[in-house]
C-alpha cells in the first residue's frame, strides 16, 4: 500500500513497500525560485535520515535535500540534469529526485502525513 510522508525540511517520500521515491514539496520549490541545477547522489550510495542526499540550486541559493529515512539509492531522475525546471513545474511528480530502498522503515512513523504537513505549513509564516 503506498503512502506519502513529509519532513519538516519539505521533502516528501512516496512509499511503496520497501522502496520510496523522494522529492521536494511545492512549498520548497516556490521558496527556492527558479531551479537551475540539481546535484543527485550516485546509485548505490547509502544515505542517512536528516543527512544531505542531494543539492538543489536556484540562482541565488543552494539548498541541501536531506534523506527522509535511512536507505540505499536505487535510481535517480536523470532528466533533472537537462531540465531542472521540472522541479518547479511538477515538484511532486515528474520533478522527483531519487528512489531509495528503505532500510529503517520505523523512521517513517516519525514523519508527517499530508494533513499534518499542511498544518505545519500554516504554522510557518
Amino acid at each position: 500500500m503506498s503512502q506519502i510522508k513529509f519532513t519538516k525540511d519539505h521533502e516528501w517520500i512516496a512509499v511503496d513497500g520497501e522502496t520510496g521515491v523522494v522529492g521536494i514539496t511545492d512549498y520548497a520549490q516556490h521558496a527556492l525560485g527558479d531551479i537551475v541545477f540539481v546535484e543527485l547522489p550516485e546509485i548505490g550510495r547509502e544515505v542517512s535520515q536528516g543527512k544531505e542526499a542531494a543539492v538543489v540550486e536556484s540562482v541565488k541559493a543552494a539548498s541541501e535535500v536531506y534523506a527522509p529515512v535511512d536507505g540505499e539509492i536505487l535510481a535517480i531522475n536523470d532528466g533533472l540534469t537537462d531540465e531542472p525546471a521540472q522541479v518547479n513545474a511538477d515538484p511532486e511528480g515528474a520533478g522527483w529526485f531519487f528512489k531509495v530502498r528503505i532500510t529503517a522503515p520505523a523512521q517513517l512513523d516519525g514523519l508527517m502525513d499530508k494533513a499534518a504537513y499542511q498544518t505545519y505549513l500554516e504554522g510557518l509564516v
Binding site: 537551475v36 536556484s58 540562482v59 541565488k60 541559493a61 543552494a62
Partner: protein, 448 residues
Amino acid sequence: MRYLPLTEADRREMLAEIGVAAVAELYRDVPEAARLPGPIAGLANHRGELEVDRLLSAMAAKNVTAGSVPFFLGGGAYRHHVPATVDSLLQRGEFLTAYTPYQPEIAQGTLQYLFEFQSQVALLTGMEVANASMYDGATACAEAVMMANRTTKRSRAVLAGNLHPHYRDTTATLARFNGFEIVAGDPAPAGKEDLAGKIDAATSCVVVQTPDVFGHVHDLTALAAACQAKGALLIAVVTEAVSLGLLTPPGAMGADIVVGEGQSLGMPLSFGGPYLGLFAAKEKYIRQMPGRLIGQTVDADGRRGWVLTLSTREQHIRREKATSNICTNSGLCALAFTMHLTLLGETGFTDLARLNHAKAVQLAEKLGDLKGLRILTDGFFNEFTIDVGRRANKVVNKLAKRGILAGVPATRLFPDSDGLTDLLLVAATECTTEADMDALARGLGELL
C-alpha cells in the same frame, strides 16, 4: 582636506538632525579605554599632493628600472611593451572606479569585457571554458589542485620539480592547512622528469609547467594519457602568456585544467603585483571551478547581455560548502590583458610570440659563443638557463654594479636546492635590443 566634502556647517546640521552634540557621542559603544582622544601620535599629519608626490618620487628614484639598462629577468614575470592605448583606456573612471558587476543592468561594460576575456583565455589555452580571472598564477595553481581533489575525490597531488617554486610553495601552504598531500619533485635543470611514473590510484592530479621554470618546452600529450589512464587530472601551468601565441596550447595536448599568469599582456612588472591568474578547464568541470564566471543571457526586452553566473559555487552563498573562499577576481588587470590582446589581434599576437622567440634565439647564439658558459635549454620559448661555471648570484650582483640586470639566479628561486648555484635564468622579449644583448655578452665575457 581635499577628499572630505563635508563642511563644518554640514557637520553641525547633521549632528542636530541626529540629536547629538558631537561625533564622539556616536562612538559611545566603543569601550572608553579604546577611544583615542585625538589623531594617533607618531604619525605625520595630512600633506598636499605636491609633498606626497615629492616623497614617493624620491622612493621611486632609488630603484633601477628595467627600461634604463640592459635587462634579462624572467622567472615568472616578463617585461613586455604595453601600447599607450591600453593604459589610457584603463584609466577611464567607468572602468577604474566601477564596483563588482552584481547589478548587471548598470555594469554591462565590465561584464562584456570579462566575457570577451573568458573567450580569449579559452582560445589561448585551447580549453572549453575559462573563468573571469584569479589573483595570480600561483593561487590559480593552488585552486586548480583543490578542484582536482574535489573532482576526483582523491587528495594526493604530484608537482613537477620544474614548476615555479612560488607556485609549488603556494600550493604547499594550502595543502598543509587543507589537509591534502603534495609530492613535489626536485628541480631538474636538464628538463627531464619522470612524472608519469609517480601517478597512482591515490593521485588527484599532476601539475606541470610549460615552458618550465628553466625554460624547457614540453609536449604533454603522453603525460595527459598517463593521467587519464589512472583517473588523475592533468594541470598545465603557463607563466608566460605570450608563449601561447606560438606553442601548441596545453588544451590541444590533453590538459584537463590550464592555469597561468597573464601579467605579460597589459600589465607592468610593478615589483610583483597586482598580476592576473588565468584559469581554464574542460566544460564538464564547470561546477567545480573556483572564481567568478560571466554568462550570456537576454534582458526583459530580449536584448543580449551578460551576468555573473553559477554563483552558487561561491562563498557568499554556499558559505562552508563553497568551492573556494575567493571573493574577488583581478578585474582591472583582466581588462588590461583583454585590451592589449584585442589590440594585438590574431596577427599581432602570433607575430609578437614569434618575435619573442627569435630574440631569445638571437641572445642564445650570442651567449653560446662565449667560453665559460653553457646553455642548458635545448627547446625554449623566450627564456633559457645558462650555467656560468661560478656562483650565478655573484655574477648578477657584479653585473648590476656595471648597470646590467643579467637575469634571475636559480638560487633566488631555489634557495634550498643543491647543484643550482651556477645557474642563471635569462629571458629576452620584444623589448630586448641587439645592443642590450651585446652588452650582456660583453659583461659575461669579461667576468667568466
